[in-house]
Amino acid sequence: MKRTRNFSIIAHIDHGKSTLADRLLELTGTISAHQSHGQVLDDMDLEQERGITIKAHAVSMKYVDEELGEFTLNLIDTPGHVDFTYEVSRSLAACEGALLIVDATQGIQAQTLSNLYLAIEHDLQIIPIINKIDLPSAQIEETSATLVDLIGCDPDEIICISAKMGDGVPEVLKAIVRMIDPPSGDPEAPLRALIFDSIFDTYRGAVPYIRVFDGTLEQGMPIRFMSSNKGYMAEEVGHLSLKRVVTKSLSVGDVGYVIPGCKMIRETRVGDTITGSKDPAREPLPGFKLIKPMVFAGLYPTNTEDYADLRDSLEKLALNDAAFTWEPETSIALGFGFRCGFLGMLHMEVVQERLEREYNLDLITTLPNVEYRVTTESGEVMKIDNPAKMPLISRQMIVEEPFIKTEIMTPTDYIGPIMKLSLERRGEYKTTEYLDGSRVNIKFDFPLTEVIYDFYDRLKSISRGYASFDYEFEGMRPSNMQRLDVLLNGEPVDALSVIVHQDKAYEWGQRLTRKLKVVIPRQLFAVAIQAAVGSKVIARTSVKALRKNVTAKCYGGDITRKRKLLEKQREGKKRMKQIGTVEIPQEAFLALLKVDED
């Protein structure tokens, strides 16, 4: 245990976390240089393409220090997106130290800062690193000054590296074994192991990744999860190198995995404590939270025949994504589908993309929404995760919506536009902190619903990519929310209903109708588009009927060609949803996502 170091890397997207991790793996001989042409920590295609790490992983390395001898280094990766703050906090809880990487050309970003605070909260030893010093635009001195201000370190402690070129990386290894404390814990106490991640293995079921804090986890030992108090057997335990490596036991300070033989990943919750069934610990490790989805949307198959396939795919997906929830629902417009819950928008996009790519499904996704709490006159409390189910709100009813606490970090140049955007989104201003002469951290409380669509994109565009953003759930607050319905040719389309703030209903009505006018193609019959609150129409427009769709000539030789053209048109129509006599392309539902684009 004295020869073990457990650490994470805190970095903003593209600041070089994966590249540094690769260099560490090479230098310790865990992989050879040519093996690491891809970045090892990101092993899902999607992660590599998006350059973000969605699922946390861990890897052990053997490191021989010239002076101090051999060590086991456990690198515990953290997911790098605002939707996954809780997972990050659990990964950090499994470590004694963290490498803080800041890009010398970009400076520190909001998410890095909030993860850094999380690390400090967990008493992690921080090793400050400035990366990309090889780039001509590197501002090493400024970045160094910010780091000194931020964590109160000595400027000499900061390691300047180029992860890409490999410069400075040996110093990082030296610092890890010197500055980070060895893990502590009581080997004689009852077992307490923290689950910091869990993956799903098709053959073995859920595989929790764990850090042992007290006691020993042995193969064959009866264990139990303290949040659910469910008992299992440790069928297999081991270390995490690039692959799973079976061992007899894991003891205090060790990072590894256990195969408990449970089929559902949901039973192995991140943050939960594993203990022994025979001699259980009295208290679980602190910090466990049941994570709940915050954003909901309806997922429907474009072709109704694909319903069963979609259900099977969701089932499989939920096996290895504990944060994802789903239940069947029916829409008058879209037929049979599912209401799905996600941690946030990125999570939703990832799920959607996986369903389309890995499971080959054509989906219609409704406009996402948050979950509202409605208290009726009689005191009955309803949770509404589907706008179509929102009742008409009378004066005696109370609607509450989720609020989040956010931090927006930005160069001072963009304070004005960010303030404006935030107030448009019903943001409640809290404070501004100056990080240095040119950067501030602005705190706002926001209704979650106002940030789930395109807030992040807008923030990026008004700050030319410089502002960054982080959030956490704050609580439910009463708000004047209403259901806004969309009617096509007088018929309400339940899948297009949204819940909006009273003050924004008119604006939303205008935007929705305008947007639909663009995406609904001209067709055989004219389409009247209306937006209404209750029975009151607040916006209207129309799509004129198509006037011409015919090929001029059709003689002997044209008939085959023409039939093929028609088949193409029919294919196109199959991708449309027919609602009454109106044909809506599935893009219409997607287009509404970008409702604020003018």
């Binding site: 006037r547 769709n549 015919v550 059709c554 039939r563 029919r570």
Partner: protein, 379 residues
């Protein structure tokens, strides 16, 4: 006794290709190449006639290309050979496509003597600017002259082809062109809206962002205007692009739209026996080579599935003014799908035609939406 079949004869030669035309044709061929061509048609006819034994011919159509480039005597030789191979119906219709600039009064007389009883004249426009844009070899005066000769000749029905929808078209220009055209009282008229076909000059020019066609709504406005003028003049709009004085509809084309059987001779020509559609490859050199060696020219074919037969029947029915009849459908394909009735009711109610519960007859507006309506009802 089988229904009469139709015979299509493709003549793939032009003085100059028109920039919008996607039909197979060879530009400025040598005279010998052109005059030796009908012999190949006869050879092909000899090779295929066995499989069409017992059929009689109701219509013949010489299309192109520019069939009027052929000497009338050679046209006659093809007609005679067809007559020898098959029975001719008493009221046989024999059409020849004829372009101004390739014929004079004497040649037209000679075609009529050769057995042609319908001339389809490729006028395209009666305005020199529009003719220039369309890249035609003739000018307005030649077009008027050819119309005059043809309509004054005895024993022949005259049809005129015109093209609408160039960027030069306006309601005023069409008013003037129709003023010139209608006094000749052609028996039938075709008005095509200009479309950009793949591989044509126009397609290249469109890629370079040249304005090639009017917008779809503008074309519709013009077609509606033209349709109104033609209706006033006594013409019936009997197919998407075709109008005729009563009793003068092109029977050859109606035969296609009713899914009749036909033989096609020449490169790129199609044949259809009710289930199987085959087409010669569009290459006159390999066509010549094969026939000179006593072989059938290279061709491809498709055999239609029942569903394809049905969808062809539906979209072809919706292209003609007689429209789609539930009784005829039932006879061929069984029960009419239940959704059709309400959709066609709504279509008629929206001003696209008449529907009495068993037959939907598209009007001028409905014919311009024939593909949309077929795609909707076929689902």
């Amino acid at each position: 006794m089988l229904d009469p079949i139709s015979l299509y004869v493709h003549v793939p030669f032009c003085q100059r290709r028109c920039p919008y035309c996607a039909f197979y044709s060879v530009e400025s061929a040598r005279e010998e190449e052109i005059t030796s061509y009908p012999r190949l048609l006869l050879k092909e006819l000899q090779l295929i006639k066995e499989s069409w034994r017992g059929s009689s011919i109701g219509t013949i159509y010489f299309g192109g290309g520019t069939p009027s480039i052929l000497p009338p005597s050679l046209v006659e030789s093809v007609i005679s050979a067809a007559k020898e191979a098959f029975q001719f119906e008493d009221d046989i219709e024999v059409t020849l496509e004829c372009n101004p600039g390739t014929v004079d009064a004497g040649k037209i007389e000679a075609f009529i003597s050769a057995g042609i009883n319908r001339l389809s004249i490729g006028i395209q426009a009666l305005n020199d600017d529009r003719l220039g844009f369309l890249g035609r070899i003739h000018d307005m005066n030649q077009a008027v002259e050819t119309l005059k000769i043809a309509t004054e000749a005895a024993g022949v029905d005259v049809s005129a082809d015109l093209m609408a929808g160039t960027p030069l078209d306006t309601r005023e220009s069409w008013y003037r062109e129709l003023e010139k055209l209608l006094p000749f009282r052609p028996d039938s008229l075709s008005f095509y809206s200009l479309t950009v076909e793949e591989g044509t000059d126009l397609a290249l020019r469109l890629e370079k962002n040249e304005k090639i066609c009017l917008g779809s709504d503008e074309v519709v406005d013009l077609m509606m205007y033209i349709g109104d003028r033609l209706a006033d003049a006594g013409y019936r709009h009997y197919e998407v692009s075709n109008w005729a004085l009563p009793g003068h509809e092109c029977r050859h084309n109606l035969h296609y739209w009713r899914r009749g059987r036909y033989i096609g001779l020449g490169p790129s020509a199609h044949s259809f026996d009710g289930k199987r559609r085959s087409w010669n490859k569009p290459d006159v050199t390999s066509y010549r080579e094969a026939l000179n060696n006593g072989n059938l020219p290279p061709s491809e074919y498709e055999v239609l599935s029942d569903a394809e037969v049905m969808s062809e029947w539906v979209y072809l029915a919706l292209r003609v003014a007689d429209g789609l009849d539930f009784g005829e459908y039932q006879e061929m394909f069984g029960e009419v799908p239940s959704s059709w009735k309400s959709l066609l009711e709504k279509t008629a109610a929206s001003g696209y035609g008449d529907f009495d519960g068993v037959r939907f007859k598209p009007n001028d507006r409905g014919l311009l939406l024939a593909d949309e309506i077929s795609a909707r009802i076929l689902g």
